[in-house]
């Protein structure tokens, strides 16, 4: 698995440096200093091997691996003034000095590993060598999970360590990336370079190809929260020869994800999908994400904040959820209800208000105050308005395939253009459902990677305790026992909740903002490492992993999947279709035999909400003959039978007075 790029046998390379120790800069068990020639391949992040020699068995047999964290260069110039004097004040003359001053390249390295580990001693003053592939594996303790010695490998390639013409694959330990030993990954970096998303895409691909079979099945749920970032994971991207070489070196196939399922809510019209993956060639793969009353009520806490909802409202929502929804229910005024949709609920509310008004003018119903009922009604109806397209007033839901998750499949939930309230609902519900199913071991896979970008927004270090933040904290702290793994990304790690980033076993840094690097969380990094982080090229990362005692720089190839911005150029989103065209497209997607004109004729004089409801039922049923099913659904519900004078005939709820002193 570990191999040299040039396989030709060579003599042991000469040392590139020598450890030095002074009273001011001593060698310690965790740090040492060495010098090299002025021209050297060593740089910040380079891994080196020190071999002790002389000084007895404890020194001569000792091998120390270190990573370069800082560098110094200086000459024998006593004071800058002497250079001025020597050049007679002319900087141009300074460069013409016949002799170059003696100068030094002095490097500081942090110890990665000592062999033997005990007794732990200062680094011997020995020769310094550039690390080979085998050295890198030893230095990063990767030998423990590369499958040597008969153990089953759990190594996941993350990138190539590159230094001085040598490069070596760097692996993460699946047990520490996806659990159960440690879990979660957090990636930080400035926005706009596509490094974070690219890195996660590559790593997911690597996980899917290398996650050991004996550890079970794995899938990923990716929330697309901005633009087209994750909309083309199933399409091949553009790779150059260097990318392909890196894929080959890492043992990762350079192909896009084979199984990708896209979910996106509708737009407010209820028929056009709210995603940038609407190109005619691709939109057929996108499943609508439609939730109804049950899905909303279960996560009412997400949508209704504490300022809105008190204990009384909470109790009423619980009452609705437990006693009313999906049950045969008598409203006490002679009306029988089966509340399944928001429309059904609205009918129940109207029935209650009318009943109270007409019957006894009482201000309580089933122990719930009328004001509380009105408030809950207002808030719930507001949800269906703000999240129109995601939350349907009527008709069945369309959801992720709970219990039928496939191994090595990516489920992309596109909420980029959804109202923030709706995004919160999607996060909370999807992750909660994942947790529920993983706890019951009936999701279909044993581990799920949840990728959430913009953690600055969803799990900020300060601000109110939202349901989403609590949920992300819960994943971070308990997810690894369940197989629920959070891959989080953000621009400013310092502004993400400490427990979210603190629980991430693997930390990845792309190019960082200088201001961010000045925050206390980065004090452990040397100034040189910070400078390197601030200028990291695209495609290079700094990785911290439980097996690595120091952060390591790696390079990774561009993801084999089409990047979002390239995708929208190659597959430009289609303009929104007219209502009838959109209905036709969805039916054709279900059944290619459907004739567009027949559909248009059928819905020409129907109300749009009826058409949407019929379409949703047809989509849910997935019948052999989609048109016949659609026609049947449309005919059955198009004109709800209502008795004259029934509550639904009224267009508004009559005012109640006096109701209460409660200040709603």
């Amino acid at each position: 698995m570990i191999e040299r790029r040039d396989p030709s046998p060579v003599l042991p390379p000469p040392p590139v440096g020598r450890v030095v120790a002074t009273e001011q800069k001593p060698a310690t068990p965790h740090q040492f200093h060495f010098w090299t020639a002025t021209e050297t391949s060593i740089g910040i992040g380079a891994i080196v091997r020190v071999e002790g020699s002389g000084g007895g068995a404890q020194v001569s047999g000792r091998v120390v691996y270190g990573v370069v964290t800082d560098a110094f260069a200086y000459s024998d110039l006593v004071t800058p003034l002497h250079d001025v004097v020597g050049a007679e004040g002319d900087p141009a003359r300074a460069a013409e000095n016949p002799t170059a001053r003696q100068e030094i390249r002095l490097w500081t390295a942090a110890v990665l590993r000592q062999i033997p580990a005990e007794p732990l001693q200062p680094v011997p003053l020995g020769d310094v060598h550039v690390a080979t592939d085998a050295d890198v594996a030893q230095a990063l303790r990767m030998d423990a999970y590369l499958g040597r010695g008969g153990a089953q490998p759990t190594a996941i390639p993350v990138g190539l360590y590159t230094s001085g013409g040598l490069e070596a694959p760097v692996y993460l330990d699946a047990d520490f990336l996806l659990g159960p030993e440690a879990a979660h990954l957090n990636i930080s970096g400035v926005s706009g370079l596509a490094t974070k998303t690219s890195a996660v895409e590559f790593l997911l691909s690597s996980i899917f190809q290398h996650f050991p079979a004996h550890r079970g099945r794995v899938a990923a749920v990716c929330f697309n929260v901005k633009g087209p970032d994750l909309c083309f994971l199933d399409r091949p991207g553009t790779l150059d020869d260097e990318d392909r070489r890196r894929y080959e070196r890492l043992g990762v196939g350079a192909h896009p994800f084979e199984r990708v399922c896209y979910y996106a809510p509708f737009k407010a019209d209820g028929v056009n999908l709210n995603t940038l993956r609407t190109h005619p060639d691709l939109v057929g793969d996108v499943e609508p994400l439609v939730w109804g009353l049950r899905e909303v009520l279960d996560y009412a806490e997400v949508l209704l904040n504490r300022d809105d909802i008190d204990a009384k409202a909470d109790a009423f929502i619980d009452f609705l959820s437990d006693r009313v929804v999906d049950r045969e229910f008598d409203d006490g005024f002679g009306g029988a209800h089966r509340v399944v949709t928001f429309a059904d609920l609205e009918r129940l509310f109207r029935s209650i208000f009318d009943g109270l008004e007409l019957a006894s003018r009482s201000d309580t119903w089933r122990t719930h105050h009328i004001a509380t009922i009105r408030k809950v009604r207002n808030r719930l109806s507001n949800i269906s308005t703000r999240c129109k397209g995601l939350v349907a007033d009527d008709g069945p839901s369309n959801d992720l395939p709970w219990g039928r998750f496939e191994d090595r499949a990516v489920y992309v939930v596109d909420v980029a253009n959804v109202d923030p309230l709706g995004q919160d609902l999607v996060f909370a519900r999807v992750v909660s459902k994942l947790r529920e199913h993983l706890e019951r071991r009936d999701l279909g896979v044993e581990a799920v990677v949840v990728f959430v970008d913009e953690l600055n927004k969803y799990a900020p270090g300060d601000g109110p305790e939202t349901y989403v933040k609590k949920m992300l904290l819960d994943i971070s702290e308990r997810g690894r026992y369940l197989g629920l793994v959070l891959f989080g990304a953000e621009q400013f790690r310092s502004q993400v909740h400490r427990r979210v980033v603190g629980n991430a076993g693997t930390i990845v840094f792309g190019r960082m903002d200088s201001d961010e690097l000045a925050t206390p969380g980065y004090q452990v990094l040397s100034p040189a490492t910070k400078i390197k982080l601030a200028t990291l090229p695209v495609g290079e990362l700094m990785v911290r992993h439980p097996h690595f005692t120091q952060p390591i720089f790696v390079r990774f190839p561009r993801p084999a999947a089409l990047r979002g911005r390239d995708g929208v150029e190659r597959f430009p989103p289609a303009a929104d279709l007219s209502f009838d065209e959109a209905v036709v497209r969805q039916l054709v997607k279900l059944d290619r035999r459907v004739r567009p004109n027949a559909v248009k004729d059928l819905i020409a004089d129907r109300r749009e909400e009826d058409v949407r409801r019929a379409l949703a039922h047809t989509r849910q049923a997935r019948p052999q003959d989609a048109f016949a099913n659609f026609k049947k659904e449309l005919g059955r519900r198009v004109a709800p039978a209502m008795a004259p004078g029934s509550p639904l005939e009224r267009q508004s709820v009559p005012p109640l007075s006096p109701i209460s002193d409660e200040p709603y």
Partner: protein, 333 residues
């Protein structure tokens, strides 16, 4: 360097000592009036170097040496001096960096063998160290023995430098020059070599008197004197020489920034004196600080010296811990 011979003589009964005399400042010029004959001008004149095109050799080698000594012990009242001499040639090529091309070191035991007890003498002779004897008349009082030992050591150093320089000069290409720290006239080969220079920083020898002396010692910066021929003395060979001022001396000292350059006694030397001087003016930078002699010390020579000192055995640079307890209380610093 092995210290086994010191251990051997201490084991043989020598009383250890830890005296480290002041390090030598290098070979100095003779301190006497020798006189000179002018070969370029009828009288000692001052030649400006402004506008002179410097000589620009493709490669230049620089030679210097060092010496270290310490009194290893006393056999009776006879000192046994442990001496270390070293010399190196570092060559500068097109990349402006100096690299060592020749190096030689020698360890010496300096004493008077016939004043040593038999056991000590046998112990000393049983080792591989080269023993250099001081004259019998100096072997009594340490006040005379130690200066004699120093002279012996300097002679060894001069011989070492001369051997190394002659060997390198013989192998130099036609585009290469050799600059030696000190006089050339010790060596017949160097004195006659067309591309070898001696750069003398000490000015013990007096070549002029009266107004010419004043003219030489008050030479303005970026000027040289006429080329002259020091009058031959002792074993020294015929040579051409001139003074060169590297830095303004006004406000400092007459000898500040003053070099004396030696080259072979040849008409070409007179022809090239100004161009060679302009070249040496260029060698002022980088400054050879922090050496106190930086005003006269060329940086490459300083570099050779630094190189040699860096390679000097550590035990010679600092006295070994005394075997006998000091009567004085220990003090901290």
């Amino acid at each position: 360097m092995s210290r086994s011979w010191v251990d051997a003589i201490l084991a043989a009964g020598v009383v250890p000592a830890s005296s480290v005399p002041e390090a030598s400042l290098g070979r100095t010029d003779v301190e006497e009036f020798t006189g000179a004959d002018l070969v370029e001008d009828p009288e000692l004149r001052i030649h400006p170097l402004v506008g002179v095109r410097p000589l620009a050799p493709a490669a230049v080698a620089f030679l210097d040496g060092i010496e270290h000594w310490r009194v290893a012990g006393y056999a009776g009242v006879t000192p046994i001096v442990e001496a270390y001499v070293a010399a190196a040639v570092r060559r500068r090529g097109g990349d402006r960096r100096l690299r060592t091309v020749a190096e030689q070191t020698e360890e010496l035991a300096i004493t008077r063998l016939d004043r040593l007890p038999d056991a000590v003498r046998r112990a000393l002779e049983g080792t591989e160290v080269r023993v250099v004897e001081i004259p019998a008349e100096d072997a009594g009082l340490p006040a005379r023995a130690l200066p004699a030992a120093r002279v012996a050591m300097q002679a060894a150093r001069a011989a070492l430098e001369r051997r190394l320089a002659e060997r390198h000069a013989a192998a130099m290409s036609a585009e290469e020059w050799l600059v030696v720290d000190g006089v050339l006239s010790d060596s017949a080969a160097l004195s006659a070599h067309p591309r070898t220079l001696g750069v003398v920083k000490s000015h013990g020898a007096q070549y002029f008197e009266g107004p010419e002396l004043e003219r030489a010692l008050t030479l303005p910066v970026s000027h040289r004197t006429s080329v002259f021929r020091p009058r031959t003395r002792g074993a020294r060979r015929d040579i051409h020489s001139w003074y060169l001022r590297l830095w303004p001396w006004e406000g400092k000292d007459l000898l500040y920034g003053l070099l004396r350059v030696e080259a072979r006694a040849h008409a070409d030397t007179i022809a090239l004196a100004s161009r060679v001087s302009a070249w040496l003016m260029d060698e002022r930078a980088p400054l050879a600080t922090p050496d106190r002699r930086w005003d006269r010390l060329l940086y490459p020579i300083h570099d050779v010296e630094t190189y040699l000192r860096a390679r000097t055995p550590r035990e010679l640079l600092a006295p070994p811990p005394p075997s006998l307890p000091s009567p004085l209380p220990r003090t901290g610093s």
